[in-house]
Symmetry: C2
Subunit: 200 residues, 2 copies
DNA sequence: GGGTATATTGAATGGGTGTTCAATAAACGC
DNA sequence: GCGTTTATTGAACACCCATTCAATATACCC
């Protein structure tokens, strides 16, 4: 009983199912069959809409990154001044939708997947660059020429907190994570734009 | 032509082959056959010495962590005073043997593997706790009650740098990584032991 | 030197995987 | 109403994986 225009619905629900499957399994071993079942469609249909598993995986990757970007954009919209804008990026990174074991697991999967899939690697590096340039733009007004190093540190700090969140053990409350990141930025600002004793 | 006492030799070489296989493939998909071939033995023999794949994987995990612990121990031996001791831990974490894409890939594999294998999870959490308590012990003398938060931040920062190193894209020089971590600690020390505007 | 333990292999087993394909059924265009 | 397109399925295919097992050959023990 084919209703027309199912393609977009199916694609969306398959992508969601992929993320959800990675979520609850908490690992990279996601099978096409599991995804299809979870999306409520047959295995064949999943392959009808997505040529490869890689195709589906990268689509899910794009979806998560789009979510993140949207969230950053919204947070940025209501933020005035460079320091507040950096804080907005931090807050968006730690928002409930992003900073939970499930989504973080998905990120780790993509990181790992990027090793094999050139497409995934390209997508991921776009994200990395965008985050870095976002941070740099604001930080330059706060710490001058040290912006590059501070941005690298902040990005690494966020990634590290993500890993620890994904690991499940030794998790910390969102508020603690926020304080940690915020204090990092504040300290760097307080240290001034001088290059001595700086990062990178 | 069985020479006796091969067990220890084979075990060692299989563990090395495992790490090396993970290295060059840069991912979690390591097959028993690939490991066996790389170690120069038959697939059957690999299963003769290691009951499970999990067994072999966790052994490799233990090996890498032992390496790391040894390196930290050695660095710690020649360090005087809490600040120097923290620096020693940082240096050990960034030493060539540890901080390269291959070894980092292995770490990521183990992180992922820990999701499924309770044994792996236990081993990993032991490592996490030990690093944290090591750092805390030194940091308490430097930043007082903020030690916990600073240690968490430093550990996350190290993990984040590892992830980025493992990712391959956007890598940074060891010296830059060191400067980044060192400045983090220095800034936290300079900020004093007060709890206001601190981390955690 | 016969028996036992060790070292080692190659082949089989059973299961799970991604992917392909032919077949069916309903909606649409004309 | 008929052909084309879309939606959907279930079965089939070929492959690779971890694991098991029977078989062989060498060293050690007494």
């Amino acid at each position: 009983m084919p209703k027309l225009g199912m393609e977009s619905v199916r694609r969306r629900s398959l992508v969601e199912a992929t993320i959800s499957a990675i979520h609850t399994r908490g690992s990279m071993d996601v099978t096409m069959r599991e995804i299809a079942t979870r999306a409520g469609v047959s295995l064949g249909l999943a392959h009808h809409y997505f040529a490869n598993k890689d195709d589906l995986l990268t689509s899910a990757m794009r979806a998560i990154m789009t979510d993140y970007r949207t969230q950053v954009g919204e947070a940025l919209a209501g933020a005035d001044g460079p320091h507040e804008r950096v804080r907005a990026i931090i807050r968006a990174s730690l928002a409930q939708d992003q900073f939970n074991p499930e989504v973080v697991s998905a990120w780790l999967v993509f990181y790992a997947h990027a090793h094999r899939s050139p497409r995934a690697r390209r997508i991921l590096s776009i994200y990395t660059r965008r985050l870095h340039s976002n941070l740099c733009h604001e930080l330059r007004q706060l710490v001058g020429e040290r912006a590059d190093g501070v941005a690298a540190g902040l990005a690494a700090l966020i990634d590290g907190l993500y890993v620890r969140e994904g690991l499940g053990t030794a998790r910390m409350a969102d508020s603690d994570a926020y304080r940690l990141l915020d204090s990092y930025v504040s300290l760097q600002i307080a240290a001034g734009p001088a290059k001595t004793a700086s990062a990178a």
